[in-house]
């Protein structure tokens, strides 16, 4: 075999062309926004956690401080304002629920294999996501108790 033959063989070779790939669109969104979405996931829990900690310190542990009292008054003010009162269920129910969904999808994956007609459910061991999911769930349950929704 001559060197030119190798050149010709390589030049005329039929190549695999993964032109029909679809994952390109799935990767694009997290690639361009992964930092923002992760930060949003954390921010969703900040306010409900502050509310829960304030409640815990004041009513369960009986600890008093001007800071805790200030936070409680702030939430009271929102709750009693007719224009802002809708924010309370948003902060204490919608935010933790969204955080729960985001974190659930981070450790639980669903894949449908068309060829085999199978739905694969994969649970990945991601302690942080599982912890945040459980924590969000606890906050949600806590604030869904009838007596606690009205701060």
């Amino acid at each position: 075999m001559k060197k030119d033959d190798v050149d010709k063989m390589l030049s005329g070779m039929d190549l695999p062309d993964p032109e029909n790939i679809k994952h390109q669109q799935e990767l694009k969104i997290p690639l361009l926004s992964f930092k923002k979405s992760s930060r949003a996931g954390l921010w969703l829990l900040v306010v409900p956690v502050v509310g829960a900690v304030t409640f815990l310190f004041k009513y369960v542990l009986g600890i008093y401080s001007t800071l805790i009292d200030g936070i409680r008054k702030f939430f009271d003010a929102i709750d009693s304002n007719q224009f802002l009162t809708f924010l309370i269920p948003v902060i204490f129910i919608v935010f933790p629920l969204t955080a729960m969904i985001i974190n659930f999808l981070a450790f639980c994956h669903f894949t449908f294999i068309k060829e085999k007609k199978e739905l694969l459910i994969t649970i990945k061991y991601r302690p942080l996501n599982i912890a945040v999911f459980l924590f969000s769930f606890a906050i949600l349950v806590f604030f869904l108790l009838p007596d606690n929704l009205s701060f």
């Binding site: 190798v6 039929d14 190549l15 993964p18 390109q24 694009k28 992760s38 981070a106 991601r126």
Partner: protein, 189 residues
Amino acid sequence: MNEEKLLKELDNDPHKFGEIYEAFYKKIFGYVFRRTMDYDAAKDIAAETFLKAYTGIAKFKYRNISVLYWLYRIATNELNKYFNSRKYMPESLSRIYEEYGVDITDYSNAETERIMLEEDLEKHREFMRINVLIKKLDIKYQEVISLRFFEQKSIKEIAVILNKKEGTVKSLLSRGIDKLKGNITRTKK
């Protein structure tokens, strides 16, 4: 796509990178897939390439050279890491996973796509046979041969991608083909 204009707009709106991504992702994925012949490795390396490009786009200075060549260079560097280590660890992807617990290459249709590409690869037995022999060559020959014959790049373009002189590329290509010829002859005996 006016790349020069787009690169200027990227300073104010980083999401304009999406246009670069849309235009070049398939080309880069195809290049990586043809070199690795491994779907999972190809999607990791392609994602790593675009993540590195996204975070480092400010360093890219437009000098009448397409962003595509820069993407090829990043992908080639990642491929070198992949071929030189037993267990390839894409830095940016690993960092995202560690910091945010998110695997951004975890596609919902990955299994279906893997099957489709593996079936397509099976139809190209001659390519697979030659590629196995190319992989036995030194990495510097693999790079030039795959860019020249699988990506149909000119000597000048390869020189830009690999940041080498055209003469060096010609010489590497010539020696690479010689060595490949030797490998082909040995397998036929």
